[in-house]
């Protein structure tokens, strides 16, 4: 491929078609509400949102790669930066900051100060323990899995539960090598 400069998250976000932000927020709210009615258990809803996000992520990664011209990242640090600066900007219009790296460089936190999903949301007492934005963790997990990175994502801070920001801890479990070359003895 000819060398194409990676595009910035801002540029892609500006060139993409937009929908009304309220429609987006309200649709997501309706989905969460319906899941709460259907599944009744808060934990089940978290799981279901995560699964829905995963299903989105495995498809979204291709769009991300196609539109951003990002090529292979050299390490997980670069991957995290790309997710925070390009990925979040491109699809949500906000950027995240990457902090709290551990010594091995396999665990970090993505901190979101601003989150368009929760614009009108106040969690009632009966919903304590609900991670309203679980879909985001699912998307990241699904997307990274398609580029051969198995990750575990946990919510550390959640503004709806009284914290001062949204913090997602991304832990790289293992880097699955490409489909091939297969080892001869496998």
């Amino acid at each position: 491929m000819p060398a194409v400069a990676p595009r910035s998250g801002e540029a892609i976000f500006a060139s993409a078609e937009h929908v009304n932000a309220e429609l987006f927020t309200l649709t997501y709210g309706a989905i969460v509400r319906q899941l709460l009615t259907d599944l009744e258990e808060v934990d089940e809803v978290n799981k279901q949102l995560d699964q829905m996000g995963y299903n989105i992520g495995v498809r979204l990664i291709d769009e991300f790669l196609a539109k951003s011209n990002v090529s292979r990242c050299v390490d997980f640090k670069e991957t995290a930066e790309v997710i925070a600066k390009v990925g979040f900007k491109m699809f949500l219009g906000v950027t995240a900051t990457v902090t709290n790296w551990d010594a091995e460089g396999t665990t970090c936190s993505l901190v979101l100060e601003d989150n368009p999903l929760v614009d009108f949301v106040e969690l009632p007492d009966m919903c304590q323990g609900l991670h309203y934005c679980s879909i985001l963790s699912g998307v990241i997990k699904g997307a990274l899995e398609m580029v051969s990175m198995k990750t575990e994502i946990t919510w550390i801070r959640d503004m709806l539960l009284g914290d001062d920001a949204y913090e997602l801890q991304v832990k790289l479990l293992k880097q699955v090598p490409e489909e091939y070359p297969y080892k001869d003895d496998e």
Partner: protein, 190 residues
């Protein structure tokens, strides 16, 4: 003269999920195309192992007498392959290939995209040669990239499309036809 003979999209397990013929001379039935796709998938994998330089992503261009085969593999291991009319003797790959007349076939895979392309020629007896030469025109690569974008838009975003399954999406067909048509117009305009 057709700019493109045919387009293949191959999923990560080597299955053909999309095939479109744009008037290639040789008739092929469905089984042939499936076989060809999985063969190409394997050859692509082998080429990665053959590479003398680490970090090779596989064959990107195969040049034959009567056609060129351009392959683009996304990081998610979906492959897009098009067969196009050959570029002619002026470009690097073909020029080197023609100086080495004893080769049965020549294929090139590029390592550093902006600077070199490594031309790999395999003789019938299995001996392998590597030649370094200039890369050719970026024209088909751009088309492949555009088709990749169409794939992400009209195939992956279709909620009723099952991942890894054959692509039957009308919107994709329509937009693809437009892209190929446009490509033909620019080609004839040159």
């Amino acid at each position: 003269m057709a700019a493109i003979y045919s387009l293949y999209i191959i999923n990560k397990s080597g299955g053909l999920i999309f095939y479109k013929d744009y008037g290639s001379a040789g008739r092929m039935d469905t089984n042939d195309t499936l076989r060809l796709a999985s063969l190409w998938h394997s050859m692509h994998a082998i080429s990665q192992q053959l590479s003398p330089v680490s970090g090779c992503t596989g064959i990107e261009l195969l040049e034959a007498d009567t056609f060129d085969l351009h392959c683009f593999q996304a990081l998610t291991v979906v492959k897009l392959v098009i067969e196009a009319y050959p570029k002619g003797p002026s470009t690097g790959g073909a020029a080197v290939g023609s100086k080495l007349p004893w080769f049965s076939s020549c294929s090139a895979f590029r390592e550093a995209p902006e600077s070199i392309c490594i031309l790999c020629a395999v003789r019938f007896n299995g001996t392998k040669f590597f030649v370094v030469c200039e890369p050719g025109t970026p024209h088909m690569e751009n088309l492949l990239k555009h088709i990749y974008e169409l794939y992400t838009d009209y195939v992956l975003k279709n909620p009723f499309y099952e991942m890894e399954m054959p692509i039957r999406c009308e919107l994709f067909d329509i937009n693809l036809a437009q892209a190929v048509q446009k490509d033909r117009v620019t080609l004839l305009g040159r």
